[in-house]
Symmetry: C3
Subunit: 449 residues, 3 copies
């Protein structure tokens, strides 16, 4: 009787150690069974004895399996691929330790702007995520760049007991804008497009998110920024997305988003935007400093429309976002600012952009073949973007800007990506850098885990 | 012969993977033993041969066990429940990765104070703890809130080779005050009581801690604060606790603590305290700023008395702390400040507050049933506190304050807690906010791991 | 037949769980084989049947081994000794979580310097290191001391596919100086010697490193400091080392290093150095503040020579570093600054300094016996150093300083070290603290993981 390999396999599979293990046909415990047969055939044991012994052996095997299953039910499930994760087998607990590192270098060919060529660590984030008692999730993520550090990013408790609805409390992104909802690890260009200035990003608050087969919906109530000591009013966002098609290589996405935000006691609204490069701190368009507020606003309203499509290696993505600022200054009407971008990309190596329909956003690209010397090429993607932002209206002269960007992405493997962006600021009209037309060449080395 | 399930179980148990695995009665290797019996009974093998074979099998089994034990002795012991921990089986090494996240929101109903309703991440701490070579422990814990971050919390090396005595060097809490010694994860209200202003909390230094069956004692020598560049003098604290009863549902605790602190070259002492809400930075009582020191002090002495009791779901806790400031200013006598609080709590769901007698402090509450939809309720605790602080004496007009607080705690499970506090400042007499009587409603979402 | 212990062992060994497991002679599955022999010998089964059954059993065993090997090939390899590491068995992925904690206390016996006795956390670093797809390595390390924190240390992506050559991009140390290349965990004294002021340490850039049997070579191109917003020019360093002998107890090391650095738009060069104690922020020698730059420099060039030797418990190490500052100020010639140190150490307990020839630097000392009460002593090392720094030349009066240091190191075990340093500043000539001759007594408690 040779049950050990079988039961051993059972043990490891039951332990869930290795989800990707392919189970071979098990070696039968031929010897014992053959021996019993021989003994029966040559009359050493009777047919009845044979059957009893055979059943006894098989029963032992069943009992053994059950015992092993019982004994191994608490073994953890470990993932080392891509990042380190460990979970209890019953799914009650899960811990993962992730991060991202983006190192940028930029060359600026200025005309009248004050951009200085340099390098920076664009993002250095480490996070811990956990699941406790199956339906409660936690995440804490910190951005270590800058001094003092840029600070707390995702920091929340999420209840996922009402699937597919989840409730989140803490610091996290207000649901708004396809590009903002897509992680900075997975966006097509090094920086989000100019209109991203209107996306609220993370605030302290509570929110609810749900989805169906072809749609998602999210809303919430959000207070002040986590880094601000003084209250900054509160915001109420909402986002709905519709994706009638979301296959692996074909996606059609439509979305609409909205935010109303009260400005609190400050009554200051300021929009300003870098020229799609973060290596500089110069903003070519800017509605004005807090010290010298250009307008006295009690609230503002953002609204946007999203569109994206994937067709094999081709993709397209675009958004329009507008903002109405509600002024309190007597005799002054409300300015309207807006921006839009449209981008397309093509995978030379045949991959498709990866869409996650449950969040209505894009996800990581998995190369068809990972790069290795003399082996695969990784995935190569060429991309083009036009983006526009208008921060001038009424008496506010924040400036108007449009940029074109050429991008090349090399996805070495699911963890490593190199990016090259060539940006031409076509024109800045008005604002602090009127008629600036700088050219920017920048690259990024990115590792995520 | 079917030894595999048995030895397999052995292997896993020896590996220590799953401390909570209940060992079922092992499936006997019935088939082989039965076969041998049959063969003996029908005369195929003799009684002697039977015994030799049977012994051979049993001996093999013993040898197998020993070998498996030997082979698996280096497997790590992993915990995923509550947090991630991994230890070598021999106990020489242990690593754990923990943290806490507290998200608060507060509504302030002001009269003459400048409290602004807002939300904040109250605490976002991540820690790593380790044991190396069995008797050396390390801990590094960082508080990520605020900008620049609040900084290093526990950061020490501890020698635990002289059990039950431990010696610690690094940054850690001076032994002082029951409520200060109780982790902020486990205190009954969202914030510690007003008199906590006198507790020194963490300083750089060295300390010794020991305990017996019913008592603990701790002292040390502590220098400056870890975040301060300039030296701030040094402190010598001591704390003794006595707990003649410390059962699971019954506790009687008495404690006394003391600290003498030299103020260093600064010669400045300042006490100020928030109104039991950390969402605001306003202190209703304050002995004065560093820029305008109200007194020129070479040192001060703190002393306090502690009392706590648990009787089933009921608990009571109180402390008195007084401070003598030793002034150097000629013609000015030494002021005496003091505070006290008394609180009671009741678990509607029958749990008891969890007391850890080796540290003389309260620990995490484990709900009798964890909350789940349609299942358990978690633990619910109602609590009441009265606290008082007097920072006015002699010519120092820091103010006098007393608060009452109503608290409700929902321990969803050992990792998640929601807290609601209603605080009424009964009166402030003197100080920067004379006659302020604000009302505060605040809540917290907490996850610990 | 009792295959289970054997196959079980196989499983665990295949799993790579425990590299240090010594494989005992396996218990043979005596019972089954003996039974078959008996049955053959007494004629119950024929010789042919015996052979078939025996082969069947052995074949089963082989199949079982192969299957177990297949099933367990994805189990991770875990290390808990010293630090926590987890790797996939195929080496494609590896994750480790490390750190260091150094707690210092210093007593200053001043004469005319403003040194204040105090304690500090000297270093509190946590890092995560990873390997993805075998040849790509990542490291992110953060220094948590100071407020705002000292910030990002190593943060890079490294390609190791062209062994022994590696290519690194991100934030890391420019290759320069033996003492700088030796980790602060492993240097002989609490602080590096005075001439370390010339070592560039970490910048954002790209570099290449390679080595042979007796040599290493490294160079790169580095831009600005990771914490600086404005560009600071760029640097091109190079380092070569030669170690004709690098055995466990005998080492001969020679090295040469170079850096040319452009100062960027700032055109400011400043060198200043603490008196080999970091507890103070006072620098006894200083070429001048940024606000009042003593010279207007477009670039500077560093060059240095290294020498080190190990002979059993004895070691010697020394460096000379000089710097030419290239001034732009008309009528002012270029100053030359330089420094040098020479140190020796002796292990009372017989260990040797540990040299890592692939990086041309010293590594961790492993005590012959770890300290335990009534057991081993750990390793004890006595050390002496003379160091000199001259920051005065031409019209620049930065000062000239020489120190002697007596050191005692107690390596409790590979994770814990205590250090005692007595430093006598022999003389300061010129600079901001002319004729200062303070004495410093300092100690450190260090834990690394």
């Amino acid at each position: 009787m040779m049950r050990s390999p079988k039961t051993l396999l059972w043990a490891f599979l039951a332990a869930g150690w290795a989800a990707s293990v392919s189970l071979p046909a098990l070696a039968a415990n031929e010897a014992m069974l053959e021996l019993l047969e021989e003994l029966r055939d040559n009359g050493t044991i009777s047919q009845e004895q044979y059957e009893v012994l055979r059943n006894s052996a098989l029963a032992d095997e069943e009992k053994g399996k059950a015992q092993v299953e019982e004994a191994t039910k608490d073994l953890p499930v470990v993932t080392t691929k891509g990042k380190f994760e460990i979970a209890s087998k019953d799914g009650n607990y899960k811990w993962s330790f992730g991060g991202r590192l983006q190192v940028d270098g930029a060359y600026f060919d200025n005309d009248r702007s004050a951009l200085l060529s340099a390098a920076e660590v664009r993002r250095a984030r480490v996070d811990v995520q956990g699941t406790v008692y199956k339906v409660w999730e936690l995440k804490f993520e910190y951005e270590f760049t800058e001094s003092p550090p840029d600070g707390i990013k995702d920091a929340y408790i999420k209840y996922v007991g009402f699937k597919p609805t989840s409730i989140t409390v803490g610091n996290f992104k207000e649901p708004f804008s396809l590009e903002e909802m897509t992680s900075s690890r997975f966006i097509t260009f090094m920086e989000r497009a100019l209109p991203n200035v209107f996306a609220p990003s993370r605030f302290l608050g509570a929110g609810v998110h749900t989805y169906g087969e072809t749609w998602t919906a999210a809303t919430g109530f959000f207070g002040n920024n986590v880094q601000e000591e003084a209250p900054e009013g509160y915001g109420i966002p909402a986002r709905v997305t519709f994706a009638p098609v979301h296959e692996e290589t074909r996606v059609a996405h439509l979305g609409a988003n909205f935010q109303w935000r009260n400005t609190g006691d400050d009554k200051v609204v300021r929009f300003r935007q870098r020229p799609e490069s973060h290596v500089t701190d110069v903003r070519l368009v800017d509605t004005g400093t807090k010290a010298k507020p250009n307008f006295d606003a009690s609230s503002f309203t953002n609204a946007g429309a999203e569109l994206a499509g994937v067709y094999g290696p081709w993709s397209v993505q675009g958004e329009y976002i507008g903002t109405w600022v509600h002024r309190e200054t007597p005799g002054k009407s409300n300015p309207y600012f807006w921006g839009a971008y449209l981008q397309g990309s093509w995978f030379l190596t045949g991959e498709s952009r990866n869409y996650k329909f449950t969040s209505g956003a894009f996800d990581n690209v998995k190369p068809k073949s990972n790069f290795s010397w003399g082996g695969g090429w990784g995935a190569w993607e060429a991309a083009f973007r036009y983006s526009y932002l208008d921060l001038s209206d009424q008496d506010i002269n924040g400036g108007e800007q449009d940029d074109i960007t050429l991008g090349l992405n090399w996805y070495v493997n699911p963890n490593i990506r190199f990016m090259w962006n060539l940006i031409k600021v076509l024109d800045v009209r008005g604002g602090p850098f009127n008629e600036a037309k700088p050219f920017i060449a920048q690259m990024r080395a990115q590792v995520i885990w």
